[in-house]
C-alpha cells in the first residue's frame, strides 16, 4: 500500500509540478507585480499598493473596452449559439448530405484566428468595398470595420462564422444522445417538429447548453487573436473627450498597456480585474444553467 502511494505521487508529480510552475506560481506573482512599479525589466521593485487598480477606472480607454467587451460577449453568446443550434438541427435532420454539412460547418474552426482575421480584413476592406462600388450600394462603400457603429458586429459575424461550427458539434452529440423513444412518443402524441424542438429536445439538451454558453462566454470575453488581426482595435472614436479605439476589447487593452505603453504593473492589475470578472460571470452562468438541467 505504501509503495502504491509513491507510484501515485510520481504519476501525479509531472502534471502537478507543471501546473504549479506555469499556473499557480505565476498567478500569485502576477497579483504581487500588480501592486508594484514593475516595468518588465527591472528587478528591484517598489510596493505601490492599490494605485494600479484605482488608476484604470479613470482611463477612458479601459472603461470603454470594458463596456464593449461585455456587449461583444452578449452578442456572441446569442449569435454563436443560435447559429450553432440551427446548424446542429440541420446536421442531424434527414436532409441529404448532412455529413457534408457537418464537416463544412466545422471547417472554419480549423483555421487559426490570425489567418482568419487577415482574410476577413481583406474581405471587409477590399472585397465588400469594391462590390459596393460596383453595385452602387452606399452601405458597402465604407468598410464595416472602419466604422465605429458596425465594427463590433463585423467582428461578431466573423467570430460566429468561425466558432458556431464547434458549438454545433457539441449540440449534435447532445441531440444524438436523446433516446429515439422519447422523440417517437412525442411524435405519436401529435407534437409537430417545432414543438418537439422546444418542448423535448431543448430541455433534454440542458447540459449541452451549460457547456456551450460557458464556452462562448469565456471565448468571446477573452477574444484577442481575431481582435488583433481583424481590426487591431481600430477605428478611432471619441469617448469621454478622448480619442479611444472603438473595437479594442479588454484582452487587447491589457496587451497594449503592457507592451506599447510599457506600463507592465498597471497592465497586470487590469489582468487581475479581468480574471476576477471572468470568474464571477462564468460561475454565475454555470450556476444558473445547472439549475435548469433535467436528469435524462
Amino acid at each position: 500500500m505504501k509503495r502504491r502511494g509513491i507510484v501515485d505521487f510520481l504519476f501525479i508529480f509531472p502534471t502537478a509540478f507543471a501546473f504549479l510552475m506555469v499556473i499557480i506560481v505565476p498567478f500569485f506573482m502576477g497579483i504581487y507585480y500588480a501592486m508594484t512599479d514593475w516595468d518588465g525589466v527591472k528587478t528591484v521593485l517598489n510596493w505601490v499598493g492599490f494605485k494600479n487598480f484605482t488608476g484604470m477606472f479613470s482611463e477612458p480607454q479601459f472603461i470603454y473596452s470594458f463596456q464593449i467587451t461585455l456587449l461583444y460577449t452578449v452578442i456572441n453568446i446569442v449569435l454563436v449559439n443560435i447559429a450553432g443550434f440551427l446548424m446542429s438541427l440541420l446536421a442531424t435532420s434527414r436532409v441529404k448530405g448532412r455529413n457534408f454539412y457537418r464537416a463544412g460547418f466545422f471547417v472554419p474552426n480549423l483555421i487559426g484566428g490570425i489567418v482568419l482575421g487577415y482574410i476577413w480584413q481583406f474581405m471587409f476592406n477590399n472585397v465588400f468595398v469594391d462590390m459596393g462600388k460596383a453595385m452602387g450600394l452606399a452601405a458597402f462603400q465604407t468598410s464595416f470595420i472602419a466604422r465605429k457603429e458596425t465594427v463590433i458586429w463585423a467582428m461578431s459575424v466573423v467570430n460566429t462564422w468561425q466558432y458556431a461550427g464547434y458549438i454545433m458539434m457539441i449540440y449534435v452529440a447532445s441531440i444524438q444522445s436523446i433516446p429515439d423513444s422519447v422523440m417517437e412518443a412525442a411524435n405519436v402524441d401529435g407534437a409537430n417538429y417545432i414543438t418537439r424542438v422546444f418542448k423535448i429536445m431543448m430541455p433534454m439538451m440542458a447540459s449541452a447548453f451549460t457547456i456551450t454558453i460557458f464556452l462562448t462566454l469565456t471565448n468571446s470575453f477573452k477574444q484577442f487573436d481575431l481582435n488583433a488581426t481583424l481590426t487591431n482595435g481600430g477605428p478611432a472614436m471619441l469617448y469621454m473627450g478622448k480619442a479611444v479605439r472603438a473595437s479594442q476589447l479588454l484582452a487587447m487593452d491589457i496587451y497594449r498597456t503592457a507592451n506599447q505603453f510599457n506600463l507592465m504593473a498597471p497592465a497586470q492589475a487590469k489582468a487581475v480585474v479581468f480574471f476576477v470578472v471572468l470568474v464571477v460571470f462564468s460561475l454565475v452562468q454555470v450556476y444558473l444553467n445547472k439549475r435548469r438541467e433535467v436528469e435524462a
Partner: protein, 421 residues
C-alpha cells in the same frame, strides 16, 4: 511486475523533466536580434560571410517580422534568459528601459567614423547607428511634369495646396486615383506614417538641426497653438486629397502600391520604401519636397539615425568583445559597406563609406544631406506608447471627420497630460 513497470514509467516521466540539452561549443556564440524585416536576407548573408571569415565566433541573426512588437519580444527574451548579444533601441525611451543591459562602447573603433552615434545622458557612446533614414513628401516627378508642376516651387504651404488642386483637376488625364497616398489606419498598422513621421515636421520643421527648444517646451505642456493649427491644416490637406479607402483602411502595401503604380502623385513615406518600389518595378523619376505647413520657404528633409545597435552588458566579456568586433567590421570594412549600401540599400551613417545607395529616395537623401538645411527627428523622445496609443487614434479621427479645431484640442490635451512638471 506490474508494480515495477508502473514505477519505472513514473520514473521516466520525472526524469524527462530533468533532461537539459547539453552543449559543447568552443566557439564564441553571439547573436543579433533585429527588427528590419526588409533587410533580413541581406543581414543573414552578411552574418554568414562574417562567420566564414571569423572561425572563432558563431553569429546568429534573428529578425522579428515587420510591424511586430519588438519591445515585447525583447522582454520575453529577457524573462526567458535568452537575451541577444546585440539588440536595437530606438531612442531615449528604449535606453531608459534597458540601460542596465546596455554596454559602454566609447572605445570602439567605429565611434570615430560617425556623427550619429547614440550617447547616453552621461555622455557615453552606447548606440551604433544602423543607418541614416529620412523622409519628406515624396513625389512622382513624371506625373508632376505632365501636370506642369515644378517640384522646386513646392516650398510653401500655399504652393503645395495650389499644386494639389491643380493635379486633382487633372486626375483623369494623368490616370490617378488620388493626389496623395497617405495612410493612418490603426487596423492597417499605418498609424506611424502621420502620428510619428509627418507630425515630426511640427516638432522639428523650420528649426536648426540641433535646436530642440520647441520640442522641449512642448514636453513642458506648452503647445504653440498657432503652429499646431497650421500643421493640422496641412495634415487635413494631405488627407483630403488621399484615396479615402487607403487612408482609413489601407496597410503599408496598399499605400506604397498606390504610389508605385502611379495611381497617386505624392506619398508620405521615407526612403525605406526603396526596396518595395524596386519590387513593384516603379522606374519613374521621384524625389522629395519638405513637409511645408507654413508660408516660410523650406526644402529641408527629416533625417536621422532612427535606431541603434547596442551591446548587451550582461553578456559574457567574450561575447561583448565579439559583438564590438562585428560592429567595427560592419562600419569600417569594404564587406560591411557593401552589405549596408549595395545589398541592404541603406544610407550609411559612416563617413568612410563611399558607396552611394541605388534607391531613388535614398539618393535623394544623400543629395539633401550634401545640400544641408535638414531637420532632426524628435518623435523618438516621446514616452513609450504615446505616438501609437495616444496620438495614433487622434490622427485617425482627423481622417474620419473630426474638425481641425477638435484635433488641435485633443493633441494639446494629450501633451498636457504627459507634461514633465
Amino acid at each position: 511486475m506490474r508494480k515495477f513497470l508502473s514505477l519505472a514509467l513514473a520514473a521516466i516521466f520525472v526524469l524527462g523533466l530533468a533532461i537539459i540539452p547539453a552543449s559543447a561549443e568552443e566557439k564564441v556564440d553571439f547573436s543579433v536580434f533585429q527588427l528590419k524585416v526588409e533587410i533580413d536576407p541581406m543581414i543573414q548573408a552578411f552574418a554568414k560571410l562574417y562567420n566564414e571569415k571569423h572561425p572563432g565566433v558563431n553569429l546568429t541573426v534573428e529578425t522579428l517580422g515587420g510591424g511586430a512588437d519588438y519591445g515585447g519580444a525583447l522582454k520575453s527574451k529577457v524573462s526567458a534568459d535568452a537575451m541577444p548579444t546585440i539588440f536595437m533601441i530606438e531612442g531615449i525611451g528604449g535606453y531608459d528601459l534597458w540601460k542596465d543591459y546596455i554596454a559602454d562602447m566609447s572605445d570602439a573603433e567605429w565611434v570615430k567614423d560617425t556623427d550619429l552615434a547614440f550617447y547616453s545622458p552621461d555622455g557615453k557612446v552606447v548606440g551604433f547607428p544602423i543607418a541614416m533614414e529620412g523622409f519628406g513628401l515624396g513625389y512622382n516627378a513624371e506625373i508632376l511634369e505632365k501636370a506642369g508642376v515644378d517640384p522646386a516651387t513646392l516650398t510653401t504651404f500655399s504652393a503645395v495646396k495650389a499644386a494639389f488642386e491643380k493635379i486633382d483637376g487633372m486626375k483623369d488625364e494623368l490616370g490617378l486615383d488620388s493626389v496623395t497616398s497617405v495612410g493612418t489606419s490603426i487596423a492597417g498598422e499605418l498609424w506611424w506614417v502621420t502620428s510619428q513621421h509627418v507630425f515630426n515636421a511640427f516638432y522639428a520643421g523650420y528649426m536648426d538641426y540641433n535646436d530642440s527648444t520647441l520640442y522641449d517646451n512642448l514636453r513642458k505642456g506648452e503647445v504653440d497653438t498657432e503652429r499646431l493649427t497650421a500643421f493640422a491644416n496641412y495634415l487635413k490637406l494631405l488627407y483630403d486629397y488621399a484615396d479615402q479607402n487607403v487612408l482609413q483602411n489601407g496597410n503599408y502595401d496598399a499605400q506604397v502600391a498606390a504610389f508605385a503604380n502611379q495611381k497617386a502623385a505624392f506619398i508620405t513615406q521615407g526612403n525605406w520604401i526603396d526596396p518595395n518600389l524596386k519590387q513593384l518595378e516603379a522606374n519613374f523619376k521621384m524625389g522629395y519636397v519638405s513637409h511645408n505647413f507654413l508660408e516660410e520657404e523650406s526644402t529641408g528633409l527629416y533625417m536621422a539615425a532612427p535606431s541603434w545597435f547596442v551591446v548587451n552588458a550582461k553578456a559574457t566579456p567574450e561575447q561583448q568583445k565579439a559583438a564590438v568586433d562585428f560592429l567595427n567590421y560592419m562600419a569600417l570594412t569594404e564587406d560591411g559597406a557593401n552589405y549596408m549600401v549595395a545589398e541592404a540599400g541603406m544610407v550609411p551613417a559612416f563617413k568612410s563609406v563611399k558607396l552611394l545607395p541605388a534607391g531613388p529616395f535614398s539618393s535623394a537623401l544623400v543629395e539633401a544631406s550634401a545640400r544641408g538645411g535638414n531637420f532632426n527627428w524628435r518623435f523618438g523622445q516621446n514616452p513609450d506608447g504615446f505616438n501609437q496609443g495616444t496620438l495614433g487614434p487622434i490622427f485617425e479621427l482627423l481622417a474620419t471627420g473630426t474638425s481641425v479645431e477638435d484635433f488641435v484640442t485633443l493633441v494639446t490635451a494629450a501633451f498636457e497630460e504627459i507634461a514633465v512638471k
